[in-house]
């Protein structure tokens, strides 16, 4: 361990002297976070979600609720409502991918509300796939909250004869504990209410790969300098050399991603979700990226080959993993492909966090990233045992 720290220390000194460390750990993350925040803004952009609405009831109350929901500026900003005639039409639209989910107002909706105040809404979501899962649930939950509020308000209006605005106030006062009375601040995954909260983590992940690559490139540079051979002639295990480089890469990646997050939160007020979850995701992702990158540079003997591969790998994973293109807008097979990348898993993790999930919801992404990290660490160990020249 002492040898690893000696080698990592030398690497850090070198990177501090040539300013790489400062660039990777501080300047680039802050600049990136700023650019994204300025480019995407803090306002809630249209998320592009299309929600099908089927009014089987056709009552005055159901029409009132649907109009209220459609007219709600919060919903209108992030969801397009598409009225569909039948449940079958809604199912077909779901199959065709024309809508993310559909809300069915049943035939007895108005009567039931009048009678018991309860809701009886059916929510249709696609059978499988992330788009029909997380994204659609987010959309529907958000709309449901509004539906609930509006339904209550409508019921109050009908029962008391008050105007709609007053009825809503009345309903809110009587049901103050019900969160549905106000629009839920729930952020939709894949179509974030604040796009920076989706692309911010994406940029951090892409940047994490680049930061690891800085350390990996220094291994290639040592090959060229001849210092790698000289180090190997010392009583130092091959794996210790790689571990030292990996440690620096891991630290750079982690600190760079933390700086991206920190500047995004502190300077622009972005909310990436549970801080502990964010740090854990960053940590395990940095480990996975480090393992993968070090495995890559252990292969090709020429520096140019490996350096080119690092760049290709970082961008390919960023695209496939939904860091540059919204994962939840990709075709479903591409969403499955994204699971082959650490970025894809981390993106899912951040989607969970930004939609209000906590540590307990991160099991899948964390486990997958840990498996990737351990798997590639094993590859590195085997490759480097055979020699490191």
């Amino acid at each position: 361990m002492r040898i690893i720290l000696v080698m990592s220390g030398r690497e850090l000194v070198a990177r501090l002297r040539d300013w790489t460390a400062l660039l990777v750990v501080l300047v680039a993350p802050v600049v990136l976070a700023s650019l994204f925040s300025f480019a995407l803004g803090r306002a809630d952009p249209v998320a592009g979600g299309v929600l099908g609405v089927v009014d089987l009831d056709g009552s005055e109350l159901s029409a009132f609720v649907i109009d209220e929901v459609a007219g709600s500026p919060e919903v209108a900003a992030s969801v397009d409502l598409r009225r569909l005639p039948t449940e079958e039409a809604a199912e077909q639209a779901l199959r065709d991918g024309d809508v993310e989910a559909a809300v069915i107002f049943p035939r007895d909706f108005g009567a039931t509300v009048q009678r018991s105040g309860g809701q009886s809404l059916t929510i249709l979501t696609p059978a499988e796939g992330a788009r029909g899962g997380i994204a659609a649930r987010g959309v529907v939950e958000r709309v449901s909250a509004e539906v609930y509020a509006v339904t209550l308000a409508a019921r109050v209006a009908v029962a008391t004869g008050l105007p709609a605005d007053e009825a809503r106030s009345e309903a809110e006062r009587d049901h103050a504990r019900q969160p549905g009375l106000t629009l839920d601040e729930h952020v939709m995954p894949g179509g974030s209410a604040v796009a920076a909260a989706y692309y911010g983590p994406g940029m951090a992940l892409l940047f994490g790969f680049f930061a690891v690559a800085v350390a990996a490139r220094s291994l290639l540079a040592e090959r060229r300098l001849g210092t790698l051979a000289r180090t190997r002639a010392a009583p130092v295990a091959a794996l210790a050399v790689v571990a030292a480089k990996g440690l620096v890469g891991f630290l750079f990646a982690l600190l760079g991603m933390l700086a991206t997050w920190g500047s995004s939160v502190l300077l622009f007020g972005a909310d990436w979700g549970d801080p502990l979850g964010v740090v854990l995701l960053f940590t395990v992702f940095a480990l996975a990226a480090t393992g993968l990158t070090m495995a890559l540079v252990s292969g090709p003997r020429t520096g140019g080959e490996a350096e080119g591969s690092l760049l290709v790998l970082a961008f390919t994973f960023a695209v496939l993993g939904g860091n540059l293109i919204n994962l939840y807008r990709m075709p479903e097979y591409m969403q499955w492909v994204s699971l082959l990348t650490p970025n894809g898993w981390a993106t899912r993790g951040f989607s969970i966090l930004t939609t209000g999930g906590g540590l307990s919801d991160l099991g899948g992404p964390l486990l997958a990233l840990a498996v990737i990290a351990v798997g590639f660490a094993a590859v590195v160990a085997v490759r480097f045992r055979k020699g490191l020249t």
Binding site: T227, R232, P235, V236
Partner: protein
């Protein structure tokens, strides 16, 4: 009894279809300076990389003071100092920082590390420039730090791979003097070069390597004796050079030629007897006046040419 500091047996290394080292075998006794002499591409550097544990041989063994490199690499490497052919140091660190770093890799620390760094800086004569970045040094100075980095942990065996390539004469001499001092101090040295004069100057024993094999081995004078078991001499005469040549050539077992560029100089070679020069002088008595005589040793260059049919610098 002489102890083997370094033993190589049956070393083989292939790169695809190229057989770089072909069953190479040699040993270096403790305190000995052994020269590995061969042209570029003969397998010297590949051999050296296997000796220091950077390269794993396809077959064969390397032992350093009895520790087999393949089985106990850390123990074996601890005893070896490696000076690569190219300067292998960090240009963004100072000379002293480079030495401290490589010292730490060999487990040195604290006072001992500081003392050793100061000592090796003295050995290579760079104590006054030690705190400047390596990138600001001249090529020769960098080469000297390159050597110092191989010495900092007081290795029992120092392996130098062509340490003077591309170095100006002054630095080259400084490097050779450093190596001579180490040899005099009892350090075992494995020295590769394609400069004959360096090997002759530094090494006790020489192995001539060609196409990955040792084709001749021995003390420099022994190797030169294989080329000319008798002796050679230059004889400068004043008078009838042709008659002098005929008189010397009449001696049994003696051959003579007149030097092309110096017409009064006879080059005399004999194949038997330790010294036939007195016979030569007697044969010239009354034929021509002898101005000067000098014994001529064959060079290792000629030995190499004789053995391989190629020049060392090819």
């Amino acid at each position: 009894m002489l102890t083997a500091a370094l033993e190589c047996e049956g070393l083989v290394k292939r790169y695809g279809s190229l057989l770089a080292v072909d069953g190479l075998k040699f040993s270096v006794t403790e305190g000995e300076a052994y020269g590995l002499l061969g042209p570029n591409g003969s397998g010297k550097s590949t051999t050296i990389e296997m000796v220091v544990g950077v390269l794993i041989p396809d077959s064969g063994t390397v032992r350093v003071h009895g520790h087999e490199m393949a089985r106990h690499p850390l123990r074996a490497k601890r005893l070896v100092g490696y000076v690569p052919q190219e300067v292998a140091l960090y240009p963004d660190l100072t000379g002293r920082e480079n030495l401290r770093y490589f010292g730490r890799l060999f487990g040195l620390r604290g006072q001992r590390l500081r003392r050793r760094v100061a000592e090796v800086l003295d050995v290579v004569g760079l104590a006054d420039r030690a705190d400047e970045r390596l990138g600001t040094y001249s090529g020769g100075m960098q080469r000297r730090v390159n050597i110092a980095a191989g010495l900092v942990h007081e290795p029992k065996v120092l392996v130098l791979d062509e340490p003077t390539v591309g170095v100006d004469p002054q630095s080259r001499n400084a490097i050779l003097e450093s190596v001579e001092r180490l040899v005099a101090g009892g350090t075992t040295v494995l020295y590769t070069s394609h400069y004959m004069e360096e090997v002759e100057r530094v090494c006790d024993r020489v192995g001539i390597i060609d196409r990955g094999r040792i084709i001749a081995e021995g003390r420099p004078e022994e190797l030169m004796a294989t080329l000319s078991p008798g002796g050679r001499a230059e004889v400068e005469v004043d008078g009838d050079v042709q008659a002098a040549g005929v008189a010397v050539a009449a001696l049994p077992g003696v051959a003579v030629t007149v030097a092309d560029h110096r017409p009064r100089l006879l080059l005399v070679t004999w194949t038997e007897g330790a010294d036939r020069l007195p016979d030569v002088l007697q044969a010239l008595n009354g034929v021509a006046a002898v101005v000067r005589t000098a014994a001529v040793r064959p060079s290792l260059e000629e030995v190499f040419l004789h053995l391989t049919g190629t020049s060392l610098r090819d």
